[in-house]
Symmetry: C2
Subunit: 213 residues, 2 copies
């Protein structure tokens, strides 16, 4: 085999980490310590290590830079424009991560609502746009949305999460009809208590759920 004749680009992974909070879709940005774009907001990211699978890089970065573990991850796309990093050729494999609502966060960085993002470093605005588009598109035809939910939730909470992601409001009866028709929700039998309203049934996501019928 011919050995590699060309200077190798550096390879990184960048993460677009979403959560729903305050009825808003938010993502995590970290302020850069170094040049270039020192002080600017940027996606958490890091170099791919030797013998490290790409998704492992994503997990590691999320754990190192955001103290997050056990997170839903999906590869988004790879960004390789030669000038995207002014220092050197850096190709970045972007992933998006989904956190369950209400999990709390103690790590560094800041959460920004997607409709109020600051200027970001490199081509991160472009990566973020791609991630938001993909998340919204997949919400309707996949089960991805459940990764934004805690293990147990009410239908109202589920609806609010969807509304936050899509940035639009949904009809309550149609939403519930549709959600239940997918056969992915299992009633726990438990109900909420507290609040000046009737208790609500608590559901859990169940991939291969037989409904209680």
């Amino acid at each position: 085999m011919v050995t590699y004749e060309y200077p190798r680009p550096a390879l990184t992974v960048d993460l677009v980490t979403f959560r729903v909070n305050n009825d808003q879709l938010e993502l995590l940005l970290i302020q850069r310590d170094n040049q270039p774009f020192q002080g600017a907001w940027a996606l958490p990211g890091g170099f791919v290590h030797e013998n490290e699978p790409l998704e492992a890089t994503a997990s590691r970065v999320l754990s190192a830079k955001a103290e997050l573990t056990d997170v839903f991850l999906e590869q988004l796309a790879t960004f390789g424009a030669p000038e995207r990093d002014p220092r050197d050729r850096v190709v970045s494999v972007a992933y998006f991560a989904l956190l369950p609502a209400g999990a709390g966060y103690n790590g560094p960085g800041e959460w920004f609502a997607v409709d109020g993002l600051p200027q970001t470093a490199f081509d991160h605005a472009h990566i973020i746009d791609t991630a938001i588009d993909r998340l919204r598109a997949k919400l309707s035809y996949s089960d991805i949305g459940f990764s934004l939910m805690p293990p147990e939730f009410t239908l109202t909470e589920l609806q609010k999460t969807w509304e936050a992601v899509l940035a639009s409001s949904l009809d309550k009866r149609n939403f519930r009809k549709g959600a239940l028709a997918r056969d992915r929700l299992e009633a726990t039998g438990k109900k909420t208590s507290g609040g000046a309203h009737p208790p609500a049934m608590i559901y859990r996501y169940n991939d291969s759920s037989e409904m209680t019928s």
Copy 2:
């Protein structure tokens, strides 16, 4: 800025090139000259050069290894399992390419129907599966299928292409109704001649077509 502290993976682009021929969805494989997997069939691929955008690598490879130019390209996904190449760490950005039917082909390699593929090198079988799934999925909700057509075509030809991609047969009247309803087909006014049957209207794909109405 800290310089890159880790050995860099090699970065390549691999191409899954589709065409429809003989009412079958086919893709291009090239026989490997070198170890590893010497003699095995593999996707055309090549290293990303310095300052070369990823899509430019894809074009260059397609032109160098398959003598194809001006081809529809779309990024598929990036494959980076550490053991996917036995020599060295090689991360590959996969693209898929679509060729218009009936264009002819004089380059090296061989076209294989997707339901009769040989064993392939590396993780190329996995890449191919991903590409086929993506192509089939996007056929229904995007205009991607027109990239598999020549500039002008009849509705019957269009239908046969779709049937080849999906590997299933479609109802003629419903297909035509649906195809025309999309407002992407412009009647050229020309008709086919020859063949023991009436002439068929020839259409062209038109992104922002006002219909002849």
